[in-house]
Symmetry: D2
Subunit: 469 residues, 4 copies
Amino acid sequence: MPALQWGGRFTRVPDGELLAFGSSLEEDLVLAPFDVACSFAHVETLLGGGIITSAEATALSAALRLVDDEIASGTFAVYARERCAEDVHGAIDARVRELAGAAGQSLHAGRSRNDQVATTLLLYVRDRALRGELRSRDIAATLVARAREELDAGTLLAGCTHRQPAQPVLLAFVLAAWSEPFLRSMHRFAAVAQTASAACPLGSGALAGSTLPLDRERGARVLGFTGPSRNALDAIGSRDAALDLAHGSVRVLIDASRIAEELIAWSTPAYGYVCLDDGAATGSSLMPQKRNPDPLELVRAHAAKLLGGYTGAMATLCGLAPSYQRDLQETKAQVIAIVEDALATLDAFARTLQGIAFVPERMEQGALEGYTIATDVADALIAAGTSARAAHAMVGAAVARAERERRALDEGDLASLADQAGTGEIRAPLDARASVLAKRTRGSTAPDDVREQIVSLESELASAPEAPA
Amino acid sequence: MPALQWGGRFTRVPDGELLAFGSSLEEDLVLAPFDVACSFAHVETLLGGGIITSAEATALSAALRLVDDEIASGTFAVYARERCAEDVHGAIDARVRELAGAAGQSLHAGRSRNDQVATTLLLYVRDRALRGELRSRDIAATLVARAREELDAGTLLAGCTHRQPAQPVLLAFVLAAWSEPFLRSMHRFAAVAQTASAACPLGSGALAGSTLPLDRERGARVLGFTGPSRNALDAIGSRDAALDLAHGSVRVLIDASRIAEELIAWSTPAYGYVCLDDGAATGSSLMPQKRNPDPLELVRAHAAKLLGGYTGAMATLCGLAPSYQRDLQETKAQVIAIVEDALATLDAFARTLQGIAFVPERMEQGALEGYTIATDVADALIAAGTSARAAHAMVGAAVARAERERRALDEGDLASLADQAGTGEIRAPLDARASVLAKRTRGSTAPDDVREQIVSLESELASAPEAPA
Amino acid sequence: MPALQWGGRFTRVPDGELLAFGSSLEEDLVLAPFDVACSFAHVETLLGGGIITSAEATALSAALRLVDDEIASGTFAVYARERCAEDVHGAIDARVRELAGAAGQSLHAGRSRNDQVATTLLLYVRDRALRGELRSRDIAATLVARAREELDAGTLLAGCTHRQPAQPVLLAFVLAAWSEPFLRSMHRFAAVAQTASAACPLGSGALAGSTLPLDRERGARVLGFTGPSRNALDAIGSRDAALDLAHGSVRVLIDASRIAEELIAWSTPAYGYVCLDDGAATGSSLMPQKRNPDPLELVRAHAAKLLGGYTGAMATLCGLAPSYQRDLQETKAQVIAIVEDALATLDAFARTLQGIAFVPERMEQGALEGYTIATDVADALIAAGTSARAAHAMVGAAVARAERERRALDEGDLASLADQAGTGEIRAPLDARASVLAKRTRGSTAPDDVREQIVSLESELASAPEAPA
Amino acid sequence: MPALQWGGRFTRVPDGELLAFGSSLEEDLVLAPFDVACSFAHVETLLGGGIITSAEATALSAALRLVDDEIASGTFAVYARERCAEDVHGAIDARVRELAGAAGQSLHAGRSRNDQVATTLLLYVRDRALRGELRSRDIAATLVARAREELDAGTLLAGCTHRQPAQPVLLAFVLAAWSEPFLRSMHRFAAVAQTASAACPLGSGALAGSTLPLDRERGARVLGFTGPSRNALDAIGSRDAALDLAHGSVRVLIDASRIAEELIAWSTPAYGYVCLDDGAATGSSLMPQKRNPDPLELVRAHAAKLLGGYTGAMATLCGLAPSYQRDLQETKAQVIAIVEDALATLDAFARTLQGIAFVPERMEQGALEGYTIATDVADALIAAGTSARAAHAMVGAAVARAERERRALDEGDLASLADQAGTGEIRAPLDARASVLAKRTRGSTAPDDVREQIVSLESELASAPEAPA
């Protein structure tokens, strides 16, 4: 029979199967240290309001410290499972009552699971948002560092749109581009952490506040919030910060999935642009020769899965009356599942990125394929006075002719185009490196522009927070 | 270091963190008995093709029986976890090799994890589809049985649309209506089970078939499939039956969520139409008087969550190149998660339904509220020759008048309407029971119609399969 | 001011902005012919019940025929928009009243928009399910026909898993595999059409049936249903068949998206396996040389979009109390949007498929790349008595060696493996064609097996329905 | 034959059906004014780079002003549809070329549809984010104003959790709680507007920048961005700000759906807490007495629909290679559809809220039902020295007893509890108003606390932006 935090009004023991169905223990055990922190703060809240004595506060705090140790050592999880606790919050309360003697009966004074869960969840959100921020930064930093290496190496490839060769670009430029969403992600996580640190629900009671003189300011301060929340009913029924975190987690995975998709393509023999480290590839149980990019495929799949997870979390709230409904337990469980999975997936992605070796010769081999300098030729005509529209049409026809003749664009084409356009001689890059060097706009793939981008990225990354000890 | 089924080509030990990230053991342990069945069949496939000897087949079968026992007793799960197996399939293979001596090295001959997983998953789908069918039937049967009771009791209430009172109906009629989606669900699950029993992928190899003369017909027969699958590449890359099962699971939960929503409303003091059993309600940690309909709220929330799960499972496949990609591992894991959760939720829903007590006096008290017999009055005018349009307008005005005067429609209204319409005296039901009795169309809420519906439902339920022993 | 079908009880004109917000006319205009069919049937229902006279029935039917003509010519849409109708159902009712004189006032007798919409929607579902079935069949037939061509041509390529080369396969085998999900889709749509033809809601009234003696059997018969629905409340509140259709539409698009993804990859210069027809490619506004596979990208994107659409449609129902709620209007609109979009996308996909030219020389060039015959070599060792496990490890090592030496597996490797395994001489295919020919299991990529698959596919396709005139 | 911005390389006219399928004109016509703004800026970009002459710039600007007028008057939409334009961007370009003479051929110099669309979309996002911010603020302000009225009126009701009565609260407190998510939404939209104003993609070209010396700073400044974007490839392939806007739009609708759900319940006779204005209710075509809360149901349904829409928009990006792919066209279309629908739904919600009349007598009638003051009684015991745990159990039992005796808690219960707890006399509120007055924590439902909340809310609202003229 599980330990319940209620029951006086009930005449029958609850159905064990239904209690097991309703238990969220497995999903919310990860909240244990945050519930302990919240409980420490509640002790301060009670003490500040004169509701418990100093001696009681001391006893409760000592018990909470013991629980914290048990959480760290893993014995608490065993305890909670053996008790078939409804959730981690009830399990901690039960354990405190065992450890704190008579004082233990007062830990829950003036507190509802509603404000307790809301507060605990915010502490979790804040912690995980910081982790998300750091992992986003680390991935961005890895990409920027490799961009700097490849800028020095001058590696070229065909930049694509629609997966078709478009224009020659530097690999460094591509890597810098890939880092950008992770910087945005970094800022998105930082904003979530800030949101989760604003208003502390503790002391909101079940929905209406309390008749006990709880010192809410003290509780909020102890937990590092800006202050107590403004309205109790809103505070206990909102999951906004948790949703924000889940959303940020899904978005960064979608960003990662896009790069994973590219790298999966690049690791095929058709491209041969990258080699995965043996440590980041997987074999086949039947085919002895296989080396599969499994971690990258899994990154892509986890993004899709968590997209569904976020949809489910929002669907639990859609059309749900305000205030606390039990459905919010599932919202909580889903947010936790999304966030833990996303952080693990980011780790796997980071590890895989680190083990990737580029194959510059294969990249450069394809950099001109697909007439990637055609736009530069058209631009040369424009610079020489032809209208954009006319230049586009003439160069398109020149490409079609060269393709029929199975050859690249060459000086002859330039001369003939100049002739056709009546511009006098034109000069345009006819190889990939010249094309890249010819770019003249900020943010372009020209080496100097890319260097500037890298400097700017490094400076933005440097201003991000350090990992906690 | 985990047991892998590959590695000859690799020069470095795989990254342990990435292997752990890629492991699906926790998600697919539930497949263990189905993998054993699949492996038994593969032994037959090998034997039928003369690839292994009878002695080897005997040794392999004996080992598989031991594994089956270990699965049943729970020791296999411990074993698999200790070995950090990549998935349940590899763990069973490893255990068989330990148990079967030299023969164990041949179990995987001519088999790829691709055809193995596809076959195992179909066996799982078939089993769970049958369970889904049975649980849908049981819920429908419970509702139909209660409909019969309430038909005898004659309980009336205000049938609603837009949650506003619409027309008086029998509670039996409502309960019969609630059973219908579960009958549809029963048939949907049955169709999934049939699909999952058609084409057996075993013997498809990794994607292209095998140069070994595997006896695919024998394997398919042993497993109860109609025959071997037609095309190896399709067989190993399709998750259609699994998606069908997941979809059926979500749909039935959405049906359940709709009834849960109604019962949650009905259990509020505002309605007071139902009392939840103490066993199916939950209290509050703060508010001593509370009795909350948690299991019903959780049914609703699980429906929302699994809707997201199905979205995620489909999203993993969207835009994924055909053939096997590792993403399918996540599809598999998600389908399993959805199905197990849905079956547990259906159980909880069934238990909660059983414990519900109706409060006929509260229902009947509200049956006339909201002028629910207005349509019958309009129909009486129509039957007497007034056009539908005119009748609707006249009765609408009569209701507005009665509402201003804070009274029900009465004989005076009938007289005045008849007068206004020039129809001569009209007769129309002015109380809820008379309204119900006056219905004259098949499928209506009239007691005789409802009795006929119940007979028909009972007969359809009787033709459904029995629960397996 | 719009034409409304209600209002007697109301004292104030409805807010025009809110009416406009609530109008579903743009979304449900496509239902117009089906509503007319439903209205024809309702006239029969009324006539069969003696509620209207033959003369009235004649007048109503004549008016409905006129409306049908106006729908076909497009003038009805103009009419409905000018009237700011709430929905297509109200607009048709209004137009009939204009056209049918006094009889027009009686069309809606005993009918609610609830049973009207439910019936109309089923007629639409049936029609579109048949279209979906036909388009699925046509796509499958195109793929099977091309498979037959390529079987005769004997085109080979590297079959992939994880997008990495796995084993040599026939292009015909791949095309046959691609056709399979469209055959499943064909059957799925056929099942939806059957479901949508079973139980006719007409005559269910708003939720409770009617006191008018409607001849529901006659209505159902006229519309080609098996019979009237069993329970009025269920009939008006269920959207199951519509959801089934939407689901089938999404599933077939996901199947198409998978092939689109492959073809997009194959159309890059890195692969060069296919050329898109100029008619199915798109250029760039800036880059004169571009030829982009836009229709295939759009197929992929529409699949993703409609996946979201189906999620939304299910979300509107999740936790919604049974019976009719206005939310069902959005479910209806979403189903229509999904289905119309899916059918258009299937059309675009079919057109694009038809314009694809394969480039066999590029395919065959890569067929051996990636040591794709390694599995055959291992199988040869197994056939010669080596255990599967040992064979896998030895061949894996041989591949690693050959890769270091930048060469293919050759006779020397076979000799050395045989030696190592102590099997005596082994024979294994060392080129792609030999590998394909060596397959010995039903459903494999061996030419004879593929021929058999094609015959079976053709026979299954031949049993599917013909397109309606 | 449509006007295309490309074609020189093509030998065949594109397939008209496929072009129609690929056209996004209907979806992106709403972008027309923003594309004109973007084009104005591009003229500055060209002029600043010396690529066009002042005369050309003047001609182009004049043409763009004409187009702007045509957009405002509606003639442009007719023009674009008649030309079967691929999208609004191409249509505007075509129209400018007609209007600007020779200069028109140069508008697209150095510009790709990729940077054009990315920039235009950001301008749209900024505009709509501001509208979202304003509408959120207006809804919050309405709720706060009504909270102030109801605070003065002192209206009480039973605050609920799990939809079961929990504790008495002020209606003003509930309304203040309802306003909170709209304030959060207001800030969320403001952050989106800021994000969308940071980095201007214009001048990024197709993906790599341009060889023409475009004055990107000038373009960015003209459009009110902080500056040009950092990396061209990222700039043209990111839809982050658009997704942020779509996400914010869905989130605020989910918030609205929760209140809609509550109001739908409150408008039933079972509650009778609110009357909808006739202008915001809808009747039935069959049942003359009906008054349905359709706009609120539609708010709920639109939230569910747009949740699906956002899922679809994210799914188009999931696993999509970086850079521009045509799938982004659908992302764009979906974001627009979500945002336009969400803004319209917020309008409808705001209108409906304004027309709601509360029925205080019905609310107060139920404020004590369900033993809502039980927590206060327990708190009184705690304040008198009983432990929280013991107090909860004793009061739970007292409630069970009172319930059996079908009476409220009374002074006798207090005495008996005090006796049982050995506390000496205790005082606790036994009616709803006393309960509310007894609350002593900030953020509670006590009148003074609620007044403070309202002041704080009003001050936060006052700092939000004004509506543009």
